[in-house]
């Protein structure tokens, strides 16, 4: 088969009318509700088997049903990640598990292992099958193979560039899902067993211990014929108490950062028009382990950007407040992955990581009385009068204020909101709505 030549280079000109799906992670039922309320068209969750996040508080079938019911009210869909590479012992239960997912109203499963695809297609044909990014699908022939196998959607490997996506779309008529935001494996997803080697935890069955973000020292075994070592490198000394063999040289100095494979996180908020124009059908956000605040903030921003571009592509502008919002949720430095070029030294993290997100989710708006301007807030983190806080809600509603007088539910003045999930009342400077969020700086 001949490759369809891609004539048009990226011009940023709109050539597509379909609105892409915004697909968000939901680590539990509460996160599912936030993701959908804040604008996700679909969420993906993990069940209690066959998923790659064995540490996430995964969904029971009962919770799935509740999640699907909630999603329906918004016209949203729920997908389940069944993306392990199965072992023999996993095979037997697959069919019953998939049937349960279907019965719970799950729209699609995200699958890496063809063993699971086969069972799904044979036994539960109503359940859509999406090929997981764990298959590292990077070319149009491979995409076509999966289309011919009956799959309606392929999640591309994160190594795929804009140009490659365009060529894939030009050659195969299939839904393409691509990661647009979140943490990335620096390896090809699935092609890493560091975790297995270091800790006997199987990364491809959800046990990944993120060894790629550990610290390593890099050495060269400089044999006699080695001509690469510079004078400077010859002078380097291994840090005590490490004992090196003869001719083994450290490729770092005492004060240098350690070697690491850890990648910066992906963020494509600056490139929404290109993503839509190239024809990506589903924009995927990573992070089933991430917080409610993270999911709501990130989904909210992408929702606004996608809607804004679809409504009026000619006059679309990237709003600075979207970028600001992203930075409030980010827990690592951000980059654009492989979309434009292969990541280089500026795309990796060598410095010690600052894990802290700059903001905390402090409260959730439960009620608002327009007559008095009083909001009822469910406490999600400690806050007290005098603190600067921010309110935000779906669609970009946003304002800052200072916490004034706080009352408990009986109307008694209190000096701080101390108790988890405690309901408190406070005056707000602008109208707020149920499910708006309140955050504070750390």
């Amino acid at each position: 088969m001949e490759t369809v030549a891609v004539q048009r280079k990226f011009s940023g000109k709109r050539n597509r009318l379909d609105k892409p799906e915004l697909l968000a992670p939901a680590g539990n039922l509460e996160k599912l509700k936030f993701a959908i309320h804040y604008g996700a068209d679909a969420v993906y969750i993990g069940g209690q088997a066959y998923g790659l996040r064995s540490n996430a508080d995964n969904f029971s079938f009962e919770e799935m049903r509740e999640g699907v019911e909630f999603a329906k009210k918004y016209g949203a869909k729920v997908f389940v990640a069944t993306n392990i590479y199965a072992h023999n012992e996993d095979i037997e239960g697959i069919q019953a598990y998939l049937q349960n997912l279907y019965d719970a109203g799950i729209a699609a499963i995200i699958v890496a292992d063809p063993a699971i695809i086969e069972v799904a297609q044979r036994a539960v044909p109503g359940l859509e099958v999406h090929l997981s990014t764990q298959q590292s699908t990077l070319n149009w022939q491979a995409v076509k193979f999966w289309k011919d196998e009956g799959l309606p959607r392929v999640v591309l490997g994160r190594e795929t560039s804009f140009e490659e996506i365009e060529e894939i779309k030009a050659n195969v008529d299939i839904e393409i899902e691509a990661f647009i935001h979140g943490a990335m494996c620096s390896s090809y997803s699935g092609r890493c067993v560091l975790s297995n080697h270091f800790t006997d935890r199987d990364s491809n069955r959800g046990g990944c211990c993120q060894s790629c973000r550990w610290k390593y020292d890099l050495f060269e075994d400089a044999r006699e014929d080695t001509v690469w070592v510079s004078e400077e490198e010859m002078q380097m000394q291994a840090p005590a108490p490490f004992k090196l063999g003869e001719n083994q040289l450290p490729l770092f100095q005492e004060q240098d950062n350690s070697f690491s494979m850890g990648s910066k996180d992906l963020c494509m908020i600056g490139h929404i028009p290109e993503l839509i124009d190239v024809g990506v059908d589903s924009f995927k956000i990573e992070g089933r382990m991430k917080s409610i605040h993270y999911v709501a903030t990130v989904v909210n921003v992408y929702r606004q950007a996608i809607d804004s571009y679809m409504a009026d592509p000619e006059n679309y502008v990237l709003k600075p407040e979207w970028v600001e919002e992203m930075n409030k949720a980010a827990n690592r430095p951000l980059n654009t992955g492989f979309f434009y070029d292969t990541p280089d030294h500026e795309d990796h993290i060598y410095e010690p990581e600052e894990k802290a997100v700059p903001f905390d989710f402090a409260g959730l708006v439960m009620d608002y009385d327009a007559a008095t301007g009083m909001a009822t807030i469910q406490q999600r983190n400690h806050f007290k009068p005098g603190q600067e806080i921010e309110f935000f809600g779906p669609g970009g509603h946003f304002f800052k204020q200072v916490v004034g007088e706080l009352q408990d539910e009986e109307g008694n003045v209190i000096d701080a909101a101390r108790h988890p999930l405690q309901r408190v009342k406070m005056k707000v400077d602008q109208p707020v709505s149920y499910f708006d969020m309140m955050r504070k700086k750390k």
């Binding site: 590479y85 199965a86 072992h87 023999n88 996993d90 095979i91 890496a112 063809p114 063993a115 086969e118 990077l138 070319n139 149009w140 022939q141 491979a142 076509k144 190594e159 490659e164 060529e167 894939i168 620096s186 090809y188 699935g190 092609r191 890493c192 067993v193 560091l194 297995n196 080697h197 006997d200 935890r201 199987d202 491809n204 046990g207 610290k215 390593y216 020292d217 890099l218 050495f219 060269e220 075994d221 080695t226 690469w228 490490f242 063999g245 490729l251 100095q253 240098d256 950062n257 070697f259 690491s260 494979m261 990648s263 292969t342 990541p343 280089d344 030294h345 795309d347 990796h348 060598y350």
Partner: protein, 309 residues
């Protein structure tokens, strides 16, 4: 030489191929590093043809590794390469990407297909799935343990290949991680950072384990700190019905690989002669142990490990 089990070894060049066949290999795995991954050497079509000719003299088979994750760009080169492999009489091709499967079926359907997804070939059902797509062999993941391996074989509708000796890949990135690190330090590297540089990583809390790392056209590869050596328990795999035993020769001197092939040859021949009387002899490994890099342990790999998740 025809035993029912196959002894397969990688080779870095035509000369090595000859030596390893002489030492007793039944089959060779070679390839072009654009299409194959983590090969001891890269072979042009002409060199591959030479190996096929040499192998024919030993009644040995030649397999070509094409287990790279293909890009759109590489797709364009697949038909010509695959046709050439078909013409020169290559017996089998290792694949992972479905695009290679499609290319072989279209352009050289007589070449056998061996499915090798490395760490993700972990169960019989998926192996059989690829069998229905045309694969005749599965190369099983090195992270499986002996119980998983032996229990799986009866369910397989394709031949099983297991790596029994040498290092394994434990991490593959498309990124140039060594170059990136050196650039980050302000000392970017001019030359290449390939296998011959002898680069290795040491993890902060595992100071006695050296993990080889190198870069090539396919990105950055990190290899295991130990060498698998299953010779002592090879009979378990032979009894279970594993067909092909692979020796990974990358990053090893030829003399070492020769000694390894000889050792496994003795075991296979001894088993073929009289399976009931077969017993492993410690001295089969003497030469291998003498030549073993003292900084790399010979181990059972994951054969006797239980992994959690």
């Amino acid at each position: 030489m025809s035993t029912k089990h196959e002894l397969l070894v990688t080779a870095a060049n035509v000369k090595e191929a000859e030596v390893l066949l002489q030492a007793g290999a039944d089959a060779l795995l070679i390839g072009d590093d654009r299409f194959g991954m983590r090969l001891p050497g890269s072979f042009s079509v002409e060199e591959t043809a030479e190996v096929v000719a040499v192998a024919a003299k030993h009644q040995a088979r030649v397999y070509v590794s094409m287990n790279n994750l293909m890009s759109n760009e590489l797709l364009k080169e697949l038909p010509e390469y695959v046709q050439a492999l078909g013409k020169i009489g290559v017996h089998g091709v290792e694949f992972n990407d479905p695009s290679v499967l499609a290319a072989i079926k279209e352009h050289a359907p007589h070449i056998q297909l061996h499915w090798n997804a490395e760490m993700t070939s972990t169960n019989y059902a998926t192996a059989n799935y690829w069998g229905t797509k045309g694969a005749s062999r599965v190369v099983l993941a090195r992270e499986l343990n002996m119980d998983e391996l032996t229990e799986m074989v009866p369910f397989l509708k394709v031949e099983a290949q297991v790596q029994v000796h040498g290092m394994t890949n434990i991490y593959h990135s498309k990124r140039s991680l060594v170059q990136s690190y050196m650039s980050h330090q302000g000392r970017p590297v001019e030359g290449h950072l390939g296998k011959e540089r002898g680069l290795f990583l040491i993890e902060a809390e595992r100071r006695d384990e050296k993990f080889p790392i190198y870069e090539d056209v396919n990105g950055t590869h990190i290899m295991s700190s130990e060498d698998i050596c299953i010779l002592e328990d090879l009979h378990l795999l032979m009894e279970a019905g594993v067909h092909s035993f692979k020796i990974e020769g990358m990053l090893k001197p030829l003399a070492y690989n020769e000694a390894v092939v000889r050792a496994y040859r003795i075991a296979l021949d001894s088993y073929a002669a009289d399976a009931d009387a077969y017993a492993f002899c410690e001295e089969w490994l003497d030469e291998v142990r003498q030549l073993q890099d003292p900084e790399r342990e010979l181990s059972f790999g994951f054969f006797y490990k239980e992994q959690v998740y």
